[in-house]
């Protein structure tokens, strides 16, 4: 995961099985990913998950944007997206449908963003 990894490209290729696109419906680079927890608790983790899957899953117990998962794992966005697509296919996470900013930013969000930026 770091720069001194002997074969980063080969390693990444292995992580995704050479896939550049995630399984299932496409999702945005900033879509919110949330680990599935039901009354019965988290679903059982199927075999075949790599440590990166598990790390992403743990992180997404809190709703987390795809880009943040990538930053946390230190992996490219597209590789991260493939891994998250796997987790979704296994029913372990939900991923938001894309929603255009113009439709989701109401007045409250707008003012929060402006104030937030000014106070930085």
């Amino acid at each position: 995961m770091t720069g001194d990894d002997p074969g980063p490209l080969i390693r990444l290729y292995g992580l995704t099985g050479g896939r550049a696109r995630p399984a299932g419906e496409s999702f945005d680079l900033v879509a919110i990913v949330t680990a599935v927890v039901t009354a019965a608790g988290a679903p059982a983790e199927p075999a075949g998950l790599v440590p990166e899957h598990l790390a992403a899953l743990a992180l997404c117990r809190r709703p987390t944007p795809v880009a943040d998962v990538a930053a946390y794992l230190g992996l490219p966005l597209n590789v991260t997206r493939v891994l998250l697509g796997d987790l979704r296919r296994e029913g372990l996470v939900t991923i938001d449908r894309p929603r255009p900013a113009a439709q989701t930013i109401d007045e409250g969000i707008y003012r929060e963003v402006l104030h937030g930026l000014r106070r930085l």
Binding site: G18, P76, N78, L114, G116
Partner: protein, 198 residues
């Protein structure tokens, strides 16, 4: 005010987590990465993305995909407004052959900052054209490199053939306050029109 945030008990329902995308575009070496780094609270992530070229073997899982992929450098940074509300800045690849990456980045974005360098203003034309065609709101931020002639915004507007609506600002992408001003202008321009001033 009647914000969702005023009702903590139902906040989780009324206020789902949301991440807002802003693109930072412009010509080669104009200061995109610097801008993202100046304002991001995380060390900007510089990633080498492996892409499937558009229209070529996108769904091909037969193992020959390596032949149809390419890599592109992308950087992004984050600003947390509060828990559950984030802004993400994406520095977009400049080369024309990566337009398809732009298509995806621009989808659902709040808007874009087009960085311009007055010494080679024409470098930002493709980005301006692209966002105009897409109908994505953008502001033009003229990065005032030391020693560069200081064009005034009126001259830049004329040179870019802008219709007089998109804001044009002078900025220094190394200065936090300057980048903040660019972003607040974009947010106001992009979505503020729908709401009363304040």
């Amino acid at each position: 005010m009647d914000y969702a945030g005023s009702e903590p008990a139902s906040a989780a329902v009324a206020d789902p987590a949301m991440a807002i995308k802003i693109l930072v575009a412009g010509g080669f070496g104009v200061g995109k990465t610097t801008m993202v780094g100046t304002i991001s609270e995380i060390r900007p992530l510089h990633t080498e993305e492996v892409l499937s070229e558009r229209g070529v073997g996108v769904d091909d899982v037969s193992g020959v995909e390596a032949k149809t992929t390419t890599t592109v450098a992308l950087d992004f940074g984050r600003i947390t407004i509060r828990e559950g509300l984030w802004l993400y800045l994406f520095g977009t690849p400049g080369q024309d052959r990566f337009w398809f990456m732009w298509d995806e980045l621009a989808q659902g974005a709040l808007g874009a900052v087009v960085l311009a360098d007055t010494r080679r203003l024409q470098d930002c034309f493709p980005a301006v054209d692209y966002f105009e065609q897409l109908g994505l709101p953008f502001v033009v931020a003229v990065n005032c490199f030391d020693g560069a002639r200081r064009h005034d915004p009126v001259t830049v507007r004329r040179a870019l053939g802008l219709d007089g609506v998109a804001p044009i600002l002078l900025c220094d992408v190394r200065e936090r306050d300057s980048v903040k001003e660019v972003l607040t202008s974009l947010v106001t321009y992009s979505v503020g029109g729908a709401f009363p001033a304040g």
